[in-house]
């Protein structure tokens, strides 16, 4: 029973199903939510799902983090560092967009007293 769970294949299956479920929870949030803050929360949930998906699928049982220390002198049987570097970059970009979106939201709320994106319809003929 526990052996089955230690299999890389099984872990990858869990990761795919779990992260995609998370991704579509975020998707559902974007489609249904009207409050700007909750839309931003949904975006972050979708991003987290993608990060878990990408990092998770590059993990295999027996591989270690790509850092050498006193006991480990060579760069062998380590997880791929490139996905980690890419996700690091994407997390920082996510924070930047989030802060910018919130500052837009704050200013908009000051001017109009609402932050419901479905009611943002000043722009038209």
């Amino acid at each position: 029973m526990l052996d089955f769970f230690n299999n890389t294949q099984t872990i990858h299956m869990i990761i795919i199903i779990g992260s995609m479920a998370l991704f579509f929870i975020g998707f559902y949030g974007i489609a249904t939510q009207k409050n700007l803050v909750k839309v931003l929360v949904s975006f972050d949930i979708m991003e987290s799902a993608l990060f878990l998906f990408f990092i998770g699928l590059h993990y295999q049982v027996g591989l270690v983090a790509p850092i050498v220390d006193k006991n480990l002198k060579t760069f062998t049987s380590m997880v791929d560092p490139v996905p980690q570097a890419m996700i690091l970059t994407t997390i920082v970009i996510g924070l930047a967009v989030l802060a910018l979106g919130l500052s837009f939201g704050i200013e908009y709320y000051k001017l109009t007293g609402r932050n419901d994106i479905s009611k943002m319809n000043e722009l038209r003929d």
Partner: protein, 242 residues
Amino acid sequence: MNLKKVLPLKHIVLSLLSSALLLSVVGLLMQVKTDMFKNVGTIYLNLNMQTAAANAVTSVVTFFRGIDTVGEVTVLFLATSGVALMLSATQRTCDKVVKQESFILNAGSRLLLSVIILFGVYIIIHGHLSPGGGFQGGVVIATAFLLLFLANPNMKLSHGILTLGESLSGATYVLVVIIGLFKMNILLGNFLPHPIGEIGELISGGIIPVVYILVGIKVGSEMSVIVEYFVKEDYYKEVCDA
């Protein structure tokens, strides 16, 4: 009135649609192959000894894919400028000091501040040896200021020093990229000595720790500015509009 009856239907349809998409995408992704022996990451791991950085993620972030990090720093800088553009005009001059913060809270936060900043600096300068680096350490430093602000909202950061640190570290980073062109004939070349034998020591890896220290200063000051704008926004609303 009808709208309220229609709305749940829309939600049900959307959740069904999401689940259908979920099932089909999961079915597709089950075929994703995951052997990594052809990946570029494996080649980086083999080459990584030459950079003399013990943390392979750091050498990928700052050296192999270094221009990504220049872009990333730029994105953070632009976001900070955007937040400042949005929130700065409303930073009214308000000299009211209504909240009398408690002495214990103030002193305690100042005590913790030094410890947290020390931790942030440790994360930054050990970026090439252990997990962490400029971005993480910089944000840790910013959270130290967040703590200070929460304890004492009357506090003001010196914008002159923050701007100086931000501009200088950013400009130096760009110059480091350009110096590589003249010294190594390749942009962002590792022009500082980085003997392989020194791997695992604090001073090793050539420009890699230098880049992460510059990034740390830049991110730390930018994030502090963002935090200050958001906190001050909050404070002014509470105190000055009351």
